[in-house]
Symmetry: C2
Subunit: 407 residues, 2 copies
Amino acid sequence: MKFGGTSVGSVDRIRNVARRALEAQKAGNDVVLIVSAMSGETNRLLSLANQVTPVPGAREMDVIAATGEQVSAALTALAVHHEGGKARSLLGHQVRILTDAAFSKARIRSIDATAIREALSRGEIAVVAGFQGVDDGGNITTLGRGGSDTSAVAVAAALGASACEIYTDVDGVYTTDPNVCPTARKIDRISFEEMLELASLGAKVLQIRSVEIAMKYNVPIHVRSSFSDAPGTWVVGEDQGLESVTVAGVAYDKAEARVHLVGLEDKPGVSAYLFEKISEENISVDMIIQNVSKADGNRTDVTFTLSKSDLQRSRSIIEEIARSAGAQDVRYDEDVSKVSIVGLGMRTHAGVASKMFRLLANEGINIQAISTSEIKISCLVAAKYTELAVRTLHEGFGLSKAPPSKP
Amino acid sequence: MKFGGTSVGSVDRIRNVARRALEAQKAGNDVVLIVSAMSGETNRLLSLANQVTPVPGAREMDVIAATGEQVSAALTALAVHHEGGKARSLLGHQVRILTDAAFSKARIRSIDATAIREALSRGEIAVVAGFQGVDDGGNITTLGRGGSDTSAVAVAAALGASACEIYTDVDGVYTTDPNVCPTARKIDRISFEEMLELASLGAKVLQIRSVEIAMKYNVPIHVRSSFSDAPGTWVVGEDQGLESVTVAGVAYDKAEARVHLVGLEDKPGVSAYLFEKISEENISVDMIIQNVSKADGNRTDVTFTLSKSDLQRSRSIIEEIARSAGAQDVRYDEDVSKVSIVGLGMRTHAGVASKMFRLLANEGINIQAISTSEIKISCLVAAKYTELAVRTLHEGFGLSKAPPSKP
């Protein structure tokens, strides 16, 4: 059971966490809690460090940031005691959660679940500090913002837990953003793969890296509300009774910008050169679209998208790279939006793409670029059409209606 | 170099600590910093725990409290970076400072100085979190309030450091309380033994347990101000050039109460029975005075002192014990004060006690009880005479004048 920052944001909420854990234990479960820092605490600690030095070193930043989860783990254990239960806090170096040495964005290498198992065998609720680990040299590391989800799934995997419950302030994953589309519907069950592709929907409730781990170790995740007992959204393997739908959800991303390189030489290796250079500059590219050569010569156009914030800092670099790759012109468009449909059903249902294009065309929405994966189709459209496109696709693929469960 | 809570109480002060450490390093020293939590932080954390449960378990309390030093150690390391130096924070479990499992009042068993030595060999300033350690089972422990002094001396001993500098907000140890006696003088050098007996003077600047460790391992302590470069007070072994004085300081304690047991049976084992029982109740007794039997029978009186706060909670227990030991009456006096003179010179100078009694008598101060050790004489007097007695003894033993140094 993982509780995020707002779920442990006050003494009352910490007590609520303790009660929920004890209920789960009374129902016959061994219970491991994973807790984040109390909301606001990580920012307070960061700002303290920034007052000391504008660019604090990552090793010491992790030592400071890890105290947020250390305090909430111990407070939660105390709250369990207060409710008459048994509990024990366990920190990253006590569990131990071994990571690489990439401070502030460490990745978990292994988890030794012995200390947790010992606590469970004594009838205790193990309260594990999320977000933190320890490297080979005993240095404290953190997993990056939202890393507590990753801690939770990794601990669940190490224990072979029957489920990893992620408690949050929303009641599950929706077919699309309810703020954009009022008929958005809570999804009961969704596959790991779909969840990964719906990153932009899911990121608000679930750290995407944790879904990768859950998929790798086949740990069912239950995303649900800390404030209600209602079931939320199960994120599970494909074989675990998924809804029988073609499209599971509609996502959008307004944070991307489009770069259009005009008239590149159309010879082998140009694209490779281009994106190698871009990658060397640590510019992270999302969609890449290259058309076949124009009829009028051996030149081609390449379009790609990247985050708007990356564009600001890397415009001159991109132009230099484009020039050296022989581009005749570089054009930018920041008023774009990526709208995507995601669903396992696409793999077996033909005509999903053409239906998507037709739905958008019917509304007069011009598609600037298309990119597809096995279970996702994304269209770049003018930013002003974002909401209209999302609602159109949501209705067009019948997502507001509850689907029949698979037999 | 150990800096307490007020010395790291703000970002500016933490920067000051970093600068002092770098100066010491530039002067050719290997430097280890030991830091406390920022002032107020420990209380903030305790109050958070108390909001969760009125009597928080000691194991979890230590997990919470230890974060105070964890944050200030990392902030101090960052401040050293900011000043252009190299530094690395080290926590109790990283050093590692092995303690027993007595949460909230653990005692250090051993220190593995490898991690500190490695940091020093890289030219780094090692910033060790004070107050904390780790037990055999990897649980976080704390050493009790003021425990950072103990951490500092223990680390200095483990490293064979040439000195342990304790930085504080006063500039040293004084011959008596300057608030009571304006002619009180800063002591340049004092022995470990005298410092231990002057606990009530020293406690404000130096944790007494740390002096015991310093004495055991012969680590010279330099108590000095964080806000000036002036030398403070050296606490050293007897052979290290001490001032040539009979009396080193005058201490007083207003926090004690007197208990007078009247008419106990005067037979072997009565005192033993009495104080065994009192000790079983965890009542801590200071002075114990038993007079020879009264001429009028085989009954004797016993007087002892204990802290006023202990008296409140243990009055009924004391009366029960007194009854079972055959006492005819139990009398209390809370308006008492203990005034003491301390000095190695007493061992060789006769007449120190009689001079003390005469000085007090000359001022009309009645002595209610006397207790002596090899280097300390304490008199119990009416509380209203405390300040007069302190000033009288301070002048009478010539403490306001700087003593000649031993050749």
